[in-house]
């Protein structure tokens, strides 16, 4: 398996968060396999299909799992068995458990107190303002919607203004407005020099927030660097379409002459077309069908799942 590491547009100096040849296994199951990465100030997306090992990586960064091999450090200090790192680290887990019997303000203030901040009330107010939760701050958390809970948890993780913020699937279950709001917040924090890492299995989410991505597939780092370059790599791969029409054979003959078509298989229930270029093929197909007087009944991209995009990256 080859890893495609693209030249990242980041300084080559040591990152704020460093993973060095890190592996983690549970019994015989390898969850994370020999990953090295550096995180720098700004927003980085941790992208990968479900089950790829994103949460395991985040948990190791947050000091909630010991690496089976390798080292995980924040500012050069190991994260495992070292509570001191939490002065500089905020974590928003995917699991949305909160002490629901507290109000948002009580909860965030309690976090500020446990951080031993000089003025916990003011810090809590600042954090609640940042996530726009001051209006509902006096309500018990158990009465909140999912998005409000999420924002309260982000406020709690930011109350001590940590340099590093880790978020596990922060957009899950949010409505579009909340999603946009969270994206703006992450942008702003990244611009202010915080080192932000958030995990996601949705390409578009990462595209909108992060310039840099770390792509994890099956426990390995599949790609790392500038988002646009990885995106290009993903879109330039051959695409497979399932096509059904009023005359499959004639359509196949017409299509094979096209430059954007790499191969065609004629099957009992239609054609399987391998296109080398997604854009040109989808433009040329309707035109050919029209010219030939063939009616298209179905055009389905058959490998559009994220998993197939990721596995292509791995094959490269």
């Amino acid at each position: 398996m080859t890893t495609q590491t693209l030249p990242a547009e980041t300084p080559t100096t040591t990152g704020v968060v460093e993973l060095s040849t890190v592996s983690r296994w549970y019994g015989n199951v390898v969850a994370v396999n020999d990953i090295s990465m550096s995180l720098h100030p700004g927003v980085t997306g941790l992208l990968g299909p479900n089950g790829a090992g994103k949460t395991t990586v985040l948990h190791m960064m947050a000091g909630f799992l010991s690496p089976s091999k390798g080292t995980v450090t924040i500012d050069g200090k190991p994260t495992w068995r070292n509570p001191e790192i939490y002065r500089d680290l905020g974590l928003v887990t995917e699991r949305e458990a909160v002490h629901g019997f507290l109000t948002a303000r009580q909860f965030v203030t309690a976090c500020a107190k446990m951080q031993k901040l000089p003025d916990p009330a003011a810090a809590a107010q600042r954090a609640l303002e940042l996530v726009e939760m001051t209006g509902a701050a006096e309500r018990r958390i158990e009465t909140f919607s999912k998005g409000m809970r999420q924002r309260t948890r982000v406020a709690a993780a930011l109350v001590h203004e940590p340099r590093v913020l880790l978020l596990d699937e922060p957009f899950n279950g949010m409505d579009p407005r909340q999603r946009m709001h969270m994206m703006e917040l992450l942008h702003r924090l990244g611009d202010n020099g915080h080192t932000i890492l958030f995990s996601s299995h949705i390409l578009e989410e990462v595209e909108q927030v992060a310039g840099l991505v770390q792509v994890i597939v099956a426990g390995r780092l599949a790609a790392s660097g500038d988002y646009r370059k990885i995106r290009r790599l993903m879109t330039n791969r051959p695409h497979v379409f399932a096509v059904r029409s009023s005359d499959d054979r004639r359509l196949a003959v017409a299509l094979i002459a096209e430059k954007s078509v790499a191969g065609i298989e004629i099957e009992a229930n239609g054609l399987t077309v391998r296109a080398s270029d997604y854009g040109s093929f989808t433009r040329v197909l309707p035109r050919i069908a029209l010219d030939q007087g063939i009616r298209l009944r179905q055009v389905v991209p058959s490998d559009e799942s994220l998993e197939s995009v990721f596995s292509y990256l791995l094959e490269g």
């Binding site: 790829a52 949460t55 909630f64 019997f101 446990m114």
Partner: protein
Amino acid sequence: MSTVAFITARGLFGRRRALLLLPLPVLLIGLAAICRAYGVSPDMWGQAVIVGLGLVVVLPVVALIVGTGVLGSEVDDGTIVHILTKPLPRYEIILAKYGVAALVTAVVAAVPLFITGVLAGSVKLGAALVVASVIGAFAYSALFLLFSLLSRRPVLVGLVYILVWEGLLGNFVSGTKNLAVGQYVITIADKIAPTAILESTIGLTTAIVMSALFIVLGTLAAVNRLSSFSVAGETS
């Protein structure tokens, strides 16, 4: 009061399981009051109510409900993460939770035991039961707090300890008596206020030293365990 202790106490009394703490003490006082009202001699009911119900059931079960409630439920629902992601030395977290667990257990168990002791004999017997049950509350709480960190089913493990180790094996295998908190409690109460109701089976020194060992070793093990707390079972 530390913030961890505040959240712990709020969490303990905010959950419905806190109501579980009520029936046993009420039953204990109720039984003693009925026997007393009908003029039954304490020799007839004292041992059954004070030892059989109070020390063998009420004290350990209350300690189990509280001891696993202060940490086990937070581990279970994941809220523990909010406390662990703070730059607090792990002993501070354990001591805050342990303090809440032991004090709540002591109050919930010692008050009804005191009343029952007075009804069955004298204020001296009541006071002896208070001292013994407070020591027992601290020893049991250390043990059950540790169980919350060692097992995902701390209540089950605690019940096995109470029913099988202390209840069953204690009657057949005499050696287990030296490793049973219940025996320390009975011994300490008996040595303070000797009556026919309480029968100690081990020496007072053993009872005190072993109680201290349970408290110290249990707490140290819990601190160590919490320092290596892993968010387990998630591979996504």
